[in-house]
Symmetry: C2
Subunit: 340 residues, 2 copies
């Protein structure tokens, strides 16, 4: 199988794993070209600096294997050098606190993707887990305008229905749902409605289908079922608008799980996309236990009868185009030629 993916660009639009050299070697084994790595969940501006600083150290200590990605061309460089390109992003806008100018500051630090909300309402809007979602706030509109200006990609994966629709309408540029699935295939408050995905398609945006067990049918979901979902998503969205965003969480501690779900905002146990009966890190399907298994997904798509061009588009070609354009500052857009 591996030979069939050697010239493929594979991009995973979200991973939250425990980054060490062993993990990098698994990515390399899976032929992964580029990963959007989570650089923050609930952290404020100061704490996010520490996270970025830790990534700088990781880049330095592993420069034979990794390459920080700030623009589309960096992804091609990573492919050429056989390194893993890493895009930093936060799954929240908590790093901005209440300060509009910090969009541009964190963009300069290579935080090229921000999810507008994590699991809770924040200064910008509401999450998919809030009971009510009153949509994009006044500050939220300005943040979107500023993200559009500087070339920071807007991510709606955990964002609530109304805030998502507002954000898509407000954004002058395509937005992303880096890691979620259609909710009519796998019902979950974290998955996305036809209304959102219709708006996303109209906006020129992209969805990264997600293998996080709680967002599919658990670890027993077969590769065939997962790839059928991809085919259905492509049928709904169009071939240019679908990629992969596994939400992989490998070798993470229970302590981190508690931080991920409960941050500092509650003293009660929260289960996120899990449940009381399934409170810990989920077991992953046997066809995707580590990023070394990426070729299985390509193989599964071929088995669905997908063409080579379409498999390449879904596995990474679409994200490459999307990030190449999305990471450019607005004023660069007019004068630049696409990589593809």
């Amino acid at each position: 199988m591996k030979n069939q993916t050697q010239d493929m660009i594979i991009i995973d639009a979200l991973e939250l794993s425990n980054w060490d050299r062993d993990f990098l070697l698994l990515l390399k084994e899976g032929g992964v070209t580029c990963v959007h790595a989570c650089c923050g969940l609930w952290e404020n501006a100061r704490e996010t600096l520490t996270k970025v600083g830790n990534w700088h150290r990781f880049f330095k200590d592993n420069e034979d294997l990794v390459l920080p990605v700030h623009k589309g061309a960096d992804i091609l460089t990573a492919k050429r050098l056989g390194k893993i390109g890493i895009i930093l992003g936060t799954q929240n806008t908590s790093a901005l606190e209440d300060e509009l100018a910090l969009v541009s500051v964190f963009n300069q630090l290579g935080v090229k993707i921000m999810q507008l909300t994590y699991n809770n309402q924040n200064l910008i809007g509401s999450s998919c887990y809030e009971e009510r979602d009153s949509g994009l706030s006044r500050f939220g509109k300005l943040v979107i305008e500023e993200m559009n200006r500087v070339g920071m990609v807007i991510d709606l994966s955990h964002v609530g229905e109304k805030t998502s629709l507002d954000a898509i309408a407000a954004s002058s540029r395509p937005v992303a749902i880096t890691h979620a699935n259609p909710d009519w295939i796998y019902p979950s408050s974290r998955n996305k409605s036809k209304e959102i995905l219709t708006a996303l398609r109209g906006n020129g945006g992209m969805i990264g289908v997600c293998a996080y067990p709680h967002l599919i049918n658990g670890h027993q979901t077969t590769l065939e079922e997962f790839c059928q979902m991809i085919v259905e998503t492509v049928e709904f969205m169009g071939i240019d608008h679908v990629g992969i965003g596994t939400d992989l969480t490998l070798n993470m501690s229970d302590e981190f799980l508690a931080w991920m779900r409960m941050g500092r905002w509650t003293h009660n146990v929260e289960y996120g996309a899990g449940s009381k009966d399934n409170p810990s890190w989920p077991k992953w399907p046997e066809w995707f236990e580590t990023p070394a298994d990426f070729p299985n997904i390509a193989q599964g798509l071929y088995q669905q009868g997908m063409s080579k061009d379409d498999v390449y588009a879904v596995m990474g070609g679409n994200w490459l185009k999307f990030f190449d354009e999305g990471f450019k500052a607005e004023k660069e857009l007019a004068k630049c030629v696409s990589l593809i």
Copy 2:
């Protein structure tokens, strides 16, 4: 006079003024190519983000007149476009707090110069105003190593004698005194001893001679006296090691003066380089009241009998070479060709 400086690159290695469009027009009138602008005095990491964010806003709002400088080539671009290049720097390492990784983070934010201490002892060393200076701390040595690695210039202008000597010895790359004078010409604890300047010269470093009235003989210092000092400094240091760092403070408030001198660290009145009899912002010499007066300095140097090449070197050529090399990451140094 202006015609004589049109092809000259003029670099001011420190200004602390109230940056607005009027000030930019004065810089343009003076033919200034590039300024090292003070982006922090006592601010911690979080507060420095706000300062950097304000600068981003200033760059955006005045993009017809300014250009942020991250590398030597940006200074040449500024000259070619007739814009003012701006290098951000902090006059303290307070932005790093106790976190080594923040050197690389602030370097990525374009803070290309950091003064190791402002007027007080800090985590790294001591200032020229402390009674005792025990030299570079353990953390200080690591910070210098990291600044050397990433290509952030070490500034010793307000740093104490022992810490300065330690820093020069510890640094594997040339360091700067962006704004101070030889103390045997103008005695002041802020000016620099023969011992420091000898070490600086040996290190390949540079000094920017300073027109701040408290560091010369007040506003009555004549242009001739100031330029005589430059000639003497060049004689001592060698022509390649001297530039200008005016420390200009135009249109600043008394509130800012209090912050500059007293930060949050004292409730007593402090006078910095001033005194009880001269507590406010100093009056500047009539030959340097605004940056539009830069050509006067070039004129004064010619009147001292300095050659055209030497005048060009002191007015900006030396800083251009120094910053071009100094802003490169260590690993870039070997493979890059100098601009000059």
